[in-house]
């Protein structure tokens, strides 16, 4: 008789009760990350109903979902640039105060909007310059010194740069122009001219749209690149990680991935519990070891691999993108403009003028 009573007492009073319902998690992991996530979660006995939302449509799908309130997830993984929009729309809630501790400063900065922390940072990313050990480092992080170092190389196309607005940001900022609708002027034209001039010379002629990542990886593996402007997301596929040196790139964009709990979440506490688990030192190091992602907890960063440590140091001097609602939308106009100039379809002046009009329209809307 005593045993059933004891069991009943333990069931009523013992520990934190396990959630009856699964934690609904909407994420933007790529397939390999998803695989590791599923394995990691299963090993920890968490009951998670995870759904994949492709990154390309993540912002749109998430906003639609949260506005509709139907089938609302308990936790969402988002790009840091999406956070201001979600905050402005009051679609997410603040994390409990006890979860605001222990983060590295640049990580916590990603999760702060209007001086309030709205998310738990899951990883830090951004652009850095990657080179093999033995390749001379650029004299300074400045874009001009990177170009000068590339020119000193004997390789035909030693510089790895992508035809993309995100990669254009260091050149734009190097001219003193930030990513803002009102700031585009002759300096932006000059920056775009310099950037476009790289291709076909220091940088190879760009491949077909959509195949940039595998093309860059092939060229790096084939030792066709001396300096590769890229981010942590591409280092996961490299086998010679121990031979990789990382340099900072002045004015490079810095961002990251965040975990937010929607205001419509049915189980917000469970959402934060999963977020805490995913950003824990142990789990973040698992991801860091596998994909060279940069952890966000200071304690985890201290135990990361040397490559990640070097990546973290380089990203320390990068600059976050503007924390505005329209920032992620700016690239819708910037990307095709950069591509048009590189392809020779438009002059830098024409392209920048078009971007200017697009951004104004965006702001006015």
């Amino acid at each position: 008789m005593r045993l059933p009573l004891l069991c009943l007492a333990l069931a009523c009073c013992g520990g934190e009760p396990r959630a009856e319902r699964p934690i609904k998690f909407l994420h933007t992991f790529n397939p390999r990350e998803t695989e590791l996530f599923n394995t990691t979660i299963a090993e920890r006995g968490l009951h998670v109903d995870a759904s994949l939302v492709p990154f390309a449509r993540g912002h749109q799908v998430i906003e639609e979902l949260l506005r509709g309130g139907h089938n609302c997830p308990d936790l969402i993984r988002i790009d840091a640039t999406w956070l201001p929009g979600l905050v402005a729309s009051k679609l997410i809630i603040e994390p409990p105060a006890e979860l605001a501790l222990g983060w590295a400063a640049i990580a916590k900065d990603l999760a702060v909007v209007d001086s309030k922390m709205w998310a738990l940072p899951q990883s830090i990313d951004g652009l850095v310059v990657v080179r093999l050990a033995g390749t001379p480092a650029p004299a300074t992080p400045a874009v001009a010194d990177l170009v000068a170092a590339a020119k000193a190389s004997e390789l035909p196309h030693p510089l790895g740069v992508r035809v993309d607005g995100y990669w254009f940001v260091p050149w734009l900022r190097g001219e003193g122009v930030d990513l803002a609708p009102a700031a585009l002027d002759e300096r932006a034209v000059h920056a775009l001219r310099d950037f476009a001039a790289l291709f076909g010379g220091l940088a190879a002629t760009p491949p077909a749209a959509g195949s940039e990542a595998p093309d860059e990886l092939r060229r790096w593996t084939g030792h066709e690149l001396a300096y590769w402007v890229t981010g942590p997301w591409q280092l996961a596929d490299l086998r010679d990680r121990d031979q990789i040196e990382v340099s900072a790139l002045a004015h490079a964009p810095r961002g990251g991935q965040l975990l937010v709990v929607p205001a419509c979440a049915a189980q917000p506490s469970e959402g934060w519990r999963l977020a805490k688990e995913l950003t824990s030192e142990q789990v973040s190091l698992i991801f860091s070891d596998a994909f060279a992602t940069v952890p966000t907890l200071a304690a985890a960063q201290a135990h990361a691999t040397p490559l990640v440590q070097r990546m973290l140091a380089a990203l320390g001097s990068a600059e976050p993108l503007p924390r505005t609602v329209v920032t992620p939308l700016l690239f819708d106009d910037l990307n095709p403009a950069v591509a048009a100039v590189v392809a020779g379809d438009a002059t830098p002046e024409e392209a920048i003028a078009g971007v200017q009009r697009g951004w104004h329209r965006l702001v006015s809307r």
Binding site: N30, P31, R32, T34, E35, N38, D49, A50, S51, L52, V53, P54, A56, R57, H59, Q60, V61, E63, E64, N71, G210, P328, L329, F331, D332, D333, N335, P336, A337, V338, A339, A340, D345, A346, E350, A351, A353, G354, V355, R357, G358, R361, R365
Partner: protein, 584 residues
């Protein structure tokens, strides 16, 4: 089954054979079944995945073509900045080139409609999506459809407008319907919230499939996978991995009842079990057959050994067997023969000692008694001659003389038994070499000798002689033996009888068999081993000396022959069988 039966060699051999057959059969069978099941499962899953990959690729190819065509049209339209007429022409071409375009809207950069139908509610015209996207499935007009949004950017990359095309997804159903599915299999395409976009199952109930484990697994997966649950084998693929569908959260699922999917494995299992059982039964039957064949000689041998151990000579023919068993049987028989010989030798030695003692004693007694007895007999006869007929002492004297005569006869027999063989007597040895006899002559002479006695006993004597070779025995000795045997037979009759005497060649022609048989009362089986012992007699006291057969055996044995006693012809009476080697 008794404990003895279980412990028998046959049972143990059968057990070993059964184990040798059953264990490998079961192990191989289980391995074969397991391997076949595993292979079939792999094959089924690979096949299902290949199927949905092909279906997904077909779906992707159609959407890819549609997207590229719309993008190209949008790009042309943006660069041309054409008037209404050229826009209409472009739209017509687009609808012709992409038949699945159900509805087309062209908007200016500010979102105002330039051409076509009003933009369906809820369609985002391009923000947050890197310039374009394929949306989730919608079910507004019965058939599922999707909205494709393509930003029309001009030569400089500037946004000039937005194309919104609604694509009819009926072709997905057509693709699935054209697929050749296995028995009971069905294919289902669901959107990101589990709503069926198309299904091969016409009876599929409408409504979201959210909550279905396979659907949830498919939507959460990275690329593809399989799941066996609740009697169904499912393979799924997340279509977001396809280039044209990036941004679309679709999944394609193939599922089939396990009973159908693994029918081949089940048939293989059944066939393996049937064939295995048949092979096992055959192996056991053959095992039992060969075990019986193998152990039967051993069992016979064991019985034979038991009989030998019990002192019996088995009646059955020697055990025959292959290889070691035959050798063993031969050895056992040899051993039995040696044991019998040794026993016979021991018995003969014992009898020989006894007979030797009797012989010595007889010689001494004969020597000591014969002379006084001769005196007694002589004086009795002298006194008889002096007594006239009718004298009162005459009867007593005659009795003394008769008894003395009988005593002399006994002594004579004793001396005969003890003395060395005598040279043959010329009377019956005519035509034969010294130490040899002609059986025909001896038998004829014996018949003549015993005729008076036979007449007195009302007995008949029949002789049959087919042996014509001389035999290695003194004629007198053979005559004494046969006379003794015939007299014994005649004395055994109480009211007459038939006696037969024959001499025939023994098988192989190296000896002659002489038999004396009668149809009298016979000799009890228990007494037959003693009849050749000295002083053993079955006659009434005072009528036999018990030395006749002992002398016969002595004479025959001295000649190198044998004498045996057995049942008479037809199981009546008695038959003495004398075997004497022929003269080479």
């Amino acid at each position: 089954m008794t404990k003895r039966a279980r412990g028998s060699l046959r049972w143990r051999v059968l057990l070993v054979l059964a184990l040798a057959a059953i264990v490998p059969t079961i192990v191989v069978g289980v391995l074969a079944i397991s391997r076949a099941r595993h292979d079939v499962e792999d094959e089924v899953q690979r096949g299902a995945l290949a199927h949905i990959r092909a279906l997904g690729a077909a779906l992707d190819g159609t959407l890819q073509d549609a997207r590229r065509t719309v993008e190209l049209a949008a790009s042309q339209w943006a660069d041309a900045a054409g008037d209404a007429k050229s826009t209409q022409l472009l739209a017509r071409r687009l609808r012709r080139d992409v038949p699945i375009v159900e509805q087309l809207s062209i908007l200016d950069p500010d979102g105002h409609l330039v051409y076509g139908d009003p933009v369906p509610a809820g369609v985002d015209i391009g923000s947050h999506s890197f310039g374009g996207y394929i949306g989730d499935a919608v079910f507004e007009r019965g058939n599922p459809a999707i909205h494709m949004v393509v930003q029309a950017r001009g030569r400089t990359g500037e946004l000039m407008g937005v194309f919104v095309a609604t694509l009819d997804l009926a072709f997905v159903h057509d693709v699935i319907a054209a697929a050749r599915l296995g028995p009971g299999a069905e294919v289902l395409v669901v959107d990101g919230v589990g709503m069926p976009v198309a299904s091969s199952n016409p009876t599929l109930a409408p409504g979201s499939r959210a909550g279905d484990p396979v659907v949830e697994r498919a939507l959460a997966s990275t690329v593809e996978g399989t799941l066996s649950q609740a009697g169904w084998v499912s393979a799924y693929r997340n279509l977001s991995s396809y280039q044209s569908l990036r941004g679309v959260r679709w999944a394609i699922i193939h599922r089939q009842p396990e009973a159908e999917a693994y029918a081949l494995a089940r048939r293989t299992t059944r066939d393996t079990i049937v064939i295995g059982a048949a092979a096992l039964a055959l192996a056991l039957a053959l095992g039992a057959f060969f075990a019986t064949r193998l152990t039967r000689p051993l069992e016979d041998l064991a019985r034979r050994a038991d009989a030998i151990a019990a002192g019996q000579i088995p009646d059955e023919p020697p055990v025959e067997g292959p290889g070691e068993i035959g050798t063993l049987a031969h050895s056992v028989d040899e051993m039995a023969k040696r044991i019998a010989e040794r026993a016979e030798l021991a018995s003969a030695l014992a009898r020989g000692d006894r007979l030797a003692s009797v012989g010595v004693m007889s010689a001494q007694v004969a020597h000591e008694i014969n002379n006084p007895l001769t005196t007694v007999l002589g004086y009795a006869k002298l006194l008889l001659e002096d007594k006239p007929e009718g004298h009162p002492d005459r009867n007593a004297l005659e009795l003394i003389a008769d008894e003395a005569e009988r005593m002399k006869k006994i002594i004579g027999s004793l001396l005969e038994y003890a003395r060395a063989p005598r040279p043959s007597e010329p009377a019956i040895g005519t035509g034969a070499a010294a130490g040899s006899s002609q059986p025909a002559q001896v038998l004829r002479h014996v018949a003549a000798l015993v005729a008076p006695q036979l007449k007195k006993a009302r007995a008949t004597l029949a002789t049959e002689v087919t042996a014509d070779r001389p035999i290695a025995i003194e004629p007198s000795a053979l005559q004494q033996v046969l006379v003794n045997l015939v007299q014994n037979a005649a004395q055994a009759f109480t009211a007459g009888g038939a006696i037969a005497m024959s001499a025939k060649p023994a098988p192989g022609g190296i000896a002659t068999v002489i038999t004396v048989s009668d149809d009298g009362p016979g000799i009890p089986v228990g007494a037959r081993t003693k009849v050749f012992d000295p002083f053993y007699t079955t006659k009434a006291p005072g009528t036999g000396t018990g030395l006749g057969l002992a002398v016969c055996k002595h004479l025959v044995a001295t000649a190198g022959g044998t004498i045996e006693v057995g049942d008479g012809p037809n199981g009546r009476g008695v038959e003495f069988r004398v075997v004497i080697p022929n003269i080479a």
